[in-house]
Symmetry: C2
Subunit: 354 residues, 2 copies
């Protein structure tokens, strides 16, 4: 009865992604030995349920990583940048969900369905998980790339507010209660005035009864950081440094699950029936594509599920090498917690069991 399972630390257990991670750990209950829950000193002492047990949240410090085999970081970028190397220095394999290490050459960026082997080569003991927008795309696009050879992606996102964390969700909920039951949304700026000009939460404009074409920070030349992240990360994960990518990132009033309208151009002609076959059998993908019968993915049907859902797959009318599709993926699950958990589980099997 002494099977030694690897031990796990979850840094950021109290956050939006952390909460989903606790669910996933409870569902995959036999992977890990001890599980330590960690957050800032603000949350220390709180109790959270994981695998059916109330577990106390510990404050983040160096000693908390002693004896930890794998440490998941589900915290803001600056906290990962500071503490990820500390955990790795203490011997833990770090799987980081933030942007802190994604662009580093000596940190692999891993999506288990697409480039699982990359997780083995981790000179700094750190593995990064992509941005939620990239993750919503890459499983489906990666499956098609393997057959047709991807050349160009033109992507417009319909991003859920939980992409901006707990505050994003709170802002939408608050704004919705201000606009529901009113006639707002018909006069210039009426929603902005009702919401309060300075009170748009983490968004650059009201998000209720609105869409906000700006996500992340200013990356220069008119681009947002989230748009360039999709380009950089797709190139890195697919190993295609010359891939053409144009992304436009837009928040919509949806709680969770990012959607993407994708124009994908390949080296070879795409037979749309073959694209359907590939997507129907690709791991981690659900093909849901009979639009005249109402079968296409929408965020409110996809939220809370693990796979990437793909619909509206059709051949571009003016380009035999391109397809259009509409993709939905839960940004808190595959878009964050689930991908981190999958990476961690692929590392867990490296630990000897007795």
């Amino acid at each position: 009865m002494t099977s030694r399972r690897p031990s796990l630390a979850v840094v950021g257990a109290t956050g939006a992604i952390g909460g989903v991670m606790l669910q996933i750990l409870s569902q995959h209950a036999d992977v890990w030995g001890e599980v330590r829950l960690i957050a800032s000193p603000r949350a220390a002492g709180r109790k959270l349920a994981v695998r059916g047990e109330e577990t106390e949240v510990l404050p983040l410090d160096e000693a908390v990583f002693d004896g930890v085999d794998v440490a998941l970081f589900l915290v803001p970028e600056d906290v990962s940048a500071r503490w990820g190397p500390v955990a790795a220095g203490r011997g833990a394999v770090v799987v980081d969900g933030s942007a802190a290490f994604r662009r580093d050459d000596d940190v692999p960026l891993v999506v288990p369905e697409v480039n699982p082997h990359a997780a083995r080569l981790r000179p700094r003991g750190i593995i990064a998980s992509p941005n939620c927008t990239t993750l919503s795309l890459i499983v489906a696009v990666g499956a098609l790339h393997a057959e047709f050879g991807l050349r160009e992606l033109i992507v417009s996102s319909y991003q859920a507010v939980s992409g901006a964390g707990r505050e994003g969700v709170a802002a939408l909920r608050e704004q919705l209660s201000l606009v529901a039951g009113t006639e707002l949304g018909t006069g210039p700026g009426d929603v902005r005035r009702a919401v309060g000009d300075g009170d748009t939460g983490p968004f650059a404009a009201p998000v209720a009864l609105n869409v906000v074409p700006w996500a992340g920070t200013d990356a220069g030349d008119g681009w947002s950081s989230e748009e360039l992240a999709i380009r950089d990360e797709c190139r890195k994960i697919l190993g295609l440094p010359g891939l053409k990518v144009s992304a436009t990132c837009v928040y919509v009033p949806v709680v969770a699950t990012h959607s993407m309208s994708v124009h994908a151009r390949f080296e070879n002609e795409v037979a749309v029936d073959r694209a359907h076959e590939i997507l129907a059998t690709a791991p981690g993908v659900v093909l849901f594509d009979s639009p005249a019968a109402g079968d296409f993915p929408t965020p409110s049907d996809v939220v809370g599920t693990d796979p990437t859902w793909v619909g509206r797959v059709r051949q571009s009318m003016d380009d035999p090498c391109a397809v259009e599709m509409f993709i939905c993926g839960d940004n808190l699950r595959k878009g964050a917690a689930l991908n981190v958990a999958q990476i961690a589980e692929s590392v867990a099997v490296e630990f000897p069991r007795d």
Copy 2:
């Protein structure tokens, strides 16, 4: 004091577009002589205010067009198809806002900022106004085409529910009051269950806390009618039968104003500064593009205004001949009533005044 102004009939005066038309007629009060308001027998006898006067709604019949110089049709496609030729046969110039005639070779499809002269050649006495999605795009894209030579458009829409008429707005308002103040939007199908499965109004799925990637009817090969309309209409208006167009049409929970994420590829290299200059001076366009300062168009700021607003203009990183941009236009104003009014006013000046 006998200046004879041309007389006008507004068929569909009681609808979503009709209501905006009455506002526009009141603002441009000196263009028309007599104005007759027309709807179905259901609405006959109702009084609506136009140019400060309560005016009785007349039921649609042949005689109602006697003495009418210009007849605006703001009614469902089948009603236009049946009654537009009747009005034209009685001598009225018909300006139709529906899809009934847009694809007919002998009916011009007119956007006054882009192809004003096309309105003169109308062998059947009928002029068509484009779909609201096309209209949200074409003024900005047309201005850039004149300088750089358009080759390809890849477009994803964020369409307002009023694109589906009064019923679309009613469905969103109703659904919003069901979801506001709840924790819905986090579990698969929870919004659908709250809204009631059969009760999604004119949409194929709930639109509150959701986005719906399907607009119009099944056009075959996976395309929706609205997506193919954008392709056909952009080609016709710009006179570019070989233009490549891929559109994906998606409803979002916004009351009015369609947004479009646009990748536009031109024959020639695009200097983005020059694109900015063109858009800043193009008629009917407002350039609002300083995203780091929060200046980009959003539907809730644009709604109720006349122009097409353009922001997020940036050069594609991997293609010197392409630009990305985000465009917002009020689908009930420029996207419908205003364009019809502009066409009608361009016809009004043909009538002799004494």
